[in-house]
Each structure stands twice: as structure tokens, then as C-alpha cells.
């Protein structure tokens, strides 16, 4: 199936991607049975999934691409969230669209400040240092009145809508009855108003961020930067001897990861309207790591699946919620011991096949025996 997809002409491929994206946007309106979450607001769950996807994509750059084990990723998430909270509510009243870029830059700068000295230490030490960093950020938030200490920060700004509370138009949801599908005229989502009850606009915001980051991820990975990361991960000394300034690229990966983490934190704070240090426990760093490792580090699609599993399963199966840390702990051990590359390891076969074809056309029969191999 994958082969057939790559063989398609480019416009068709783009069309398929666009349709997939539209489907993703429409998902909370369709409320398909089985997938939708009984008893929990489906839009809200999807928003959480989108934030986990964002975080997993960011952490994947650090862990999956550059091979740096970061156990304090939640720290960057917290910095993004707290910056937004402080600027829009606690100490100023900036508009959200101005506060989020500042939060993202703050996270990135803290990533550079933390990374510049620590990325020189050995890889496994880095894990412990970042773990310490994540905890320091949280403990500072707990102990500092200026940051709202344990009580947290309320009234964080919502994103601006379009067309006021009525929006431009309203979209009815689907209602799945017994064997029939109806448009539910009582259940509508306003385009585009970020309120308290309807979570779907927040999901759209999160999904948009995921798509933008995903495209950026693809562009960066498929360039000198992406190659430098991978070479550094595989063999740092050899990479250095092949002219890769490994330290610079590790720092770049760290800063990029922090950037995305900060963005996710900012969006989260805005949806939540309220944050306190409990939202930034070490546990979350581990859950994010689980998302990346379970999905398959280095494979952005696998990582998205991992994020979906980590964020969605506990919501879909609420009874399972207490056991999710246990389950992901088991998953980490099992994956590490049995399948360290994750459920969806990065694949190259598609591109490999593609180039093989190209070469054959160029050389036409020059290597008959090898063309038989396809």
C-alpha cells in the first residue's frame, strides 16, 4: 500500500494529505462511535491528544533525532505555560498572541542556557541533569509567590476568536443513533469562538500547531541539519571527524525541542485558563518520553501514534487511568528489552525503492542481475 502511495503523482498525494488533515479537523464534529470518549468531552480529549503530539514531536527532535535523553522536558513546557500565564494574567494583561511567542522564546533561551554547559557532559549524565532541571523549575514555581506558588495562576487569556461570540457560522455535530446518523442541531460548534464549554476550537488550534510543527520537522530533518543530528546520534566522534560541529547541533536540537515544548505549554495554559505546579510533575516528562519511545524514536509518525496512545487511552478507558503510569512503565521495559526501536521504527525502504527505480532508468540494463532483485 505504501508503495502504491509513493508511486502516485504529486498532486494526488497532496490531495490525500489535505483530505486527511480535513478529516482530522472534522473528527470532533463527526464524533464517530468507538473512538469518541463516553463521559468525557471528546473535543477536550482531542485537544489533550494534540498537545501530547506537539510535545512528542518536540521531544523526538531531542531524543529521537539527536539522541539526547532529556528527562526534564516538562520544564520547558512549564516555562512556556508560566510565561503566558504571567504575561496575560498575573503580572500584565498582554494579548495571548503576543504572550505565546514570548513564552516560546523564553523556553528556547532556557534550553540554550541549560544546554550550553550540560551538553558537553556524557549522555547519561545529561539525563540526570535534565531531570534535575525539570524538578528545579517546578520547585521554584512551588516556592515563589511571584509565580503564584502552590495556588497557581488563574484567568489566563483565551485565544481571540473570529466574529465575536456568535462567530461567523455554526457547525452542527453528527449524532450516531441506532443505525442512523443525524445532524444534531442542538449541538453546534461556533467558528470561531474560544469559550469555556466547547473545547473543539482549542483542538483546532492545537491541531494547527501540530501540522505546522510537523511540516517544519519534515523540512528540517531532510536537510544538512537533520543529517548532522543523525550522524551525531550514531557516532559523535566520527561525526565530529567528518566536519560536523556536534556541539552546535546538539544545542540546536535542544533549543528546537525547548521551543516546541514552550509552544505546547503556552497553548495548554491558554486552554486551561489555570495552571499550578501540579501540572508539571516529573511524571509528565516520563509520559512524554514514553510516547516517543513507544512510538519509535526518530520516526515522526510513530511518535505521533505514541503520543496518541499515551494521551488517549487513559481518557477512553477511564478505569485504566490509575494504571497508566504502571502500564507505560511496563511498556518502556518491554520495548527496551524486546524491541528497542519502538513500535514504528524509522523506515527508509520507501525511499530506497524509489531511488533504485531512478537508477535503473538511468543505467538501463547495465546491471541486469541487480534489477532482478526488486
Amino acid at each position: 500500500m505504501k508503495n502504491r502511495f509513493t508511486a502516485m503523482p504529486k498532486p494526488v498525494k497532496i490531495l490525500i494529505w489535505v483530505l486527511l488533515a480535513l478529516f482530522a479537523y472534522a473528527l470532533p464534529l463527526l464524533e464517530p462511535p468507538i473512538i469518541s470518549t463516553p463521559g468525557v468531552d471528546f473535543g477536550g480529549v482531542l485537544f489533550t491528544v494534540s498537545i501530547y503530539c506537539l510535545v512528542a514531536l518536540g521531544l523526538n527532535i531531542v531524543v529521537g533525532y539527536a539522541g539526547l535523553l532529556d528527562l526534564g522536558y516538562v520544564g520547558f513546557y512549564a516555562i512556556g505555560a508560566y510565561t503566558v500565564a504571567i504575561l496575560t494574567s498575573f503580572h500584565a494583561s498582554w494579548p495571548l498572541l503576543l504572550a505565546i511567542p514570548v513564552g516560546v522564546v523564553a523556553a528556547m533561551v532556557s534550553g540554550i542556557i541549560l544546554g550550553a554547559p550540560t551538553l558537553r557532559v556524557r549522555g547519561d549524565y545529561l539525563a540526570i541533569v535534565t531531570l534535575g532541571f525539570g524538578e528545579i523549575i517546578r520547585l521554584v514555581a512551588v516556592n515563589t509567590e511571584w509565580l503564584g506558588d502552590t495556588r497557581g495562576i488563574k484567568n489566563i487569556a483565551k485565544p481571540p476568536g473570529i466574529g465575536g461570540e456568535e462567530g461567523w457560522f455554526q457547525i452542527p455535530h453528527l449524532f450516531w443513533g441506532d443505525g442512523t446518523v443525524l445532524l444534531d442541531s442542538d449541538d453546534k460548534t461556533t467558528f470561531l469562538f474560544f469559550g469555556v464549554l466547547d473545547q473543539i476550537p482549542y483542538y483546532w488550534m492545537g491541531l494547527t500547531a501540530v501540522i505546522v510543527v510537523l511540516i517544519a520537522d519534515i523540512l528540517i530533518k531532510n536537510s544538512r541539519v537533520g543529517r548532522a543530528w543523525e550522524a551525531t546520534r550514531e557516532d559523535e566522534d566520527a561525526a565530529e571527524l567528518m566536519g560536523v560541529p556536534t556541539f552546535k547541533f546538539k544545542l540546536l536540537a535542544f533549543a528546537t525541542g525547548a521551543f516546541i515544548g514552550g509552544l505546547a505549554g503556552g497553548l495548554y495554559a491558554s486552554r486551561q485558563g489555570f495552571i499550578n505546579p501540579q501540572s508539571f510533575l516529573l511524571l509528565f516528562s516520563i509520559l512524554y518520553l514514553a510516547a516517543v519511545v513507544v512510538g519509535g524514536q526518530g520516526n515522526r509518525w510513530g511518535v505521533l501514534v505514541g503520543a496518541f496512545l499515551v494521551a488517549y487511552l487513559p481518557q477512553r478507558f477511564r478505569d485504566f487511568d490509575d494504571f497508566r503510569v504502571l502500564a507505560f512503565g511496563v511498556a518502556l521495559v518491554l520495548l527496551a528489552t524486546l524491541r528497542p526501536e519502538g513500535l514504528f521504527p524509522p523506515r527508509r525502504t520507501v525511499r530506497a525503492k524509489h531511488l533504485e527505480q531512478e537508477l535503473e532508468e538511468l543505467e538501463e540494463g547495465a546491471g541486469g542481475e541487480e534489477s532482478a532483485r526488486v
Binding site: 539522541g67 535523553l69 528527562l71 554547559p117 550540560t118 557532559v121 556524557r122 549522555g123 547519561d124 549524565y125 539525563a127 540526570i128 541533569v129 531531570l131 534535575g132 532541571f133 524538578e135 528545579i136 520547585l139 521554584v140 512551588v142 516556592n143 516529573l282 516520563i286 518520553l289 519511545v293 490509575d322 494504571f323 503510569v325 504502571l326 507505560f328 512503565g329 511496563v330 511498556a331 518502556l332 521495559v333 518491554l334 520495548l335 527496551a336 528489552t337 524486546l338 528497542p340
Partner: protein
Amino acid sequence: MNFEFFFNNLPELTITGLAFGAIYALIALGYTMVYGVLQLINFAHSEVFMYGTFAMLWTVMALGGREADGIKLIAIMIAALFAAMLVSALIALVLERVAYRPLIKRDAPRLIALISAIGASFVLAELMGLRDRIAGWLRLDDDLSEYVSGARINNSMAGVIEKPRWDVAGVSISSIDVLVIVAAVGMMVLLDQFVRRSRLGKGIRATAQDPETAALMGVNPTRTIQLTFLIGGLMAGIAAFLYMLKIETTRYDVGFLLGVKAFTAAVLGGIGNLRGALLGGLVLGVAENWGSAIFGTEWRDVIAFVLLVLILLVRPTGLLGESLGKARA
């Protein structure tokens, strides 16, 4: 900042700090020895310690420690010490078998081994945290309710033992602190001599230095690794016992913070170095206690983390250097 309090109470602060530091040092052994032999951060070692605290607590409760006194109380405490050591050692061995050996056999990258260790750590902690649910499924609620109830809240054995304080030249000293320091330092000296002089200890050092050559010389690597985990577990058990004597309460997640601090102690002293673990533990304990006197106790944990980051930046090989294999300390 409260320098007046700090200077007025300097001796007490130092002794309490040393007692904490001695416990960190005992836990740090588990990190330092495993790192020395396998170059692996034994992330789940904190849970080995945590299970020890529960073994201690439950033994004391099961044997009626609340009502006992005199000789009987001492006997119960000795039983609790052995229970803690046994349970911790068992957990350490299981950990080695399940989470590490498959990876060591495959010569997996260190990051993968660390991820496995993190997973194992969370599994162990959560199993303890969810023990009421698990006991419920096994229909053990009635028999074990006393031990099992309220899995996620503090479990306490407060008031079981009296802790006299001594007055020495105007300084009030807790007898438990003295016991903790003496016991921990004593164990460290014994262990140091064991690793230095015994045949098994020499095997550990040889494997730490050069696993392949050691294997060729007849040192069984798997057995050596097991022995390393066993010793780490036993020491964590002793640490758990002393910790419970001093702090008296435990939780399913008590390991995390102590684990990070013990690891800090190991790195501070020079990871892989036994004497370094003792020195690092004591320095960290005192620094933390002094620091929390000056900056306020709410910053206590931040001090340890900041210290960890600073050491790694300034002197990543630690105070005494890294050398489990080398003869010199």
C-alpha cells in the same frame, strides 16, 4: 536568608546533615557500584530502597512493634533490619534479571538501558502505590488491610521507638543520628575492605576495569554483576532501615527524591568510587542541611539539584575521581 539561625545551630545542623548524608551514601553505593561495573545509571535503585522501607515498616507492625519494648523491641528491630536487607536485595536481583540482563547480553546502547531502568523504576513504584487495588483483586483486603490501606498516603511507624537526645557541651544530639552515622560509616568501611581484599571483591574490581580480560581470567561476568546488585541491594536495605528509624514514615514515591540525591552523592564523590560515595553523601547531606537553614527548608531539594548540576559542570569526575577498578581510592 537566615544566617543568625544558621550560626546559632551550626553543630546540630551539621550532625543532622551527616546523618542524612550517611543514608545518601549507603544508597549511593548501589549507583556507584553498578555504574563502575556496567557504566549504567541504575535508575531503579531508588525503588530498591523504597521496598526496603516498607519491608521494615511492615515487619515492625506485623511483629507488634507498637506494643513491644525492651529486649523484644530490639529483637523486632533486628528482624526488621534483616527483612529490609532481604527484600531490597531480592528486588535488586530481580531488577538485574528482568530489566538489565537482556540488554547487557545484547550489548544495547546505554540510553536504551537507561530507558529500561526508568520503566522498571516506575513499575516498581506504581506497584507499591497501587497495592490496595492489587490486594483487592487478590481478595486480601481483610487480612492485609492494615498494611495495604491508603496506598498513596504516608505510612508511618511513628512512636514505636523512643529517641533520646543527648546533651553534649550544650549541643543537643539525637541518639538516632549518632546511630545512623556510626552504622553507615561502619558498613562502608566493611564494604570497602571486602571489595579491596576478598576474592569476590577483586572480581568486581577486575570486571570494572576490563570486563573482557576479567572474563578470560576466570571471573564470571554475570555472577559478578549479580554480586554487585546484591551488595547494592543489601546496602539499600540497611539505608532503608536507618531511614525509617530516623524519619519513621514512607511512601510509594519516597525513592525518587532520595534516589536523585544519592545519585548526586555518587557523582559528587566520583561515580564508581566507593570512598567517594561516602564522602559525597556526607558532603551533600551537610550542604543540604546548611543550605536549608540559610535559605529556608522549602529550598532543600533545590539545593541538591543545583549542586548536582554544578558538579557535573565544574568537575564531572567528582571529588575523588572515578575508580572502582583502580586500587587507589
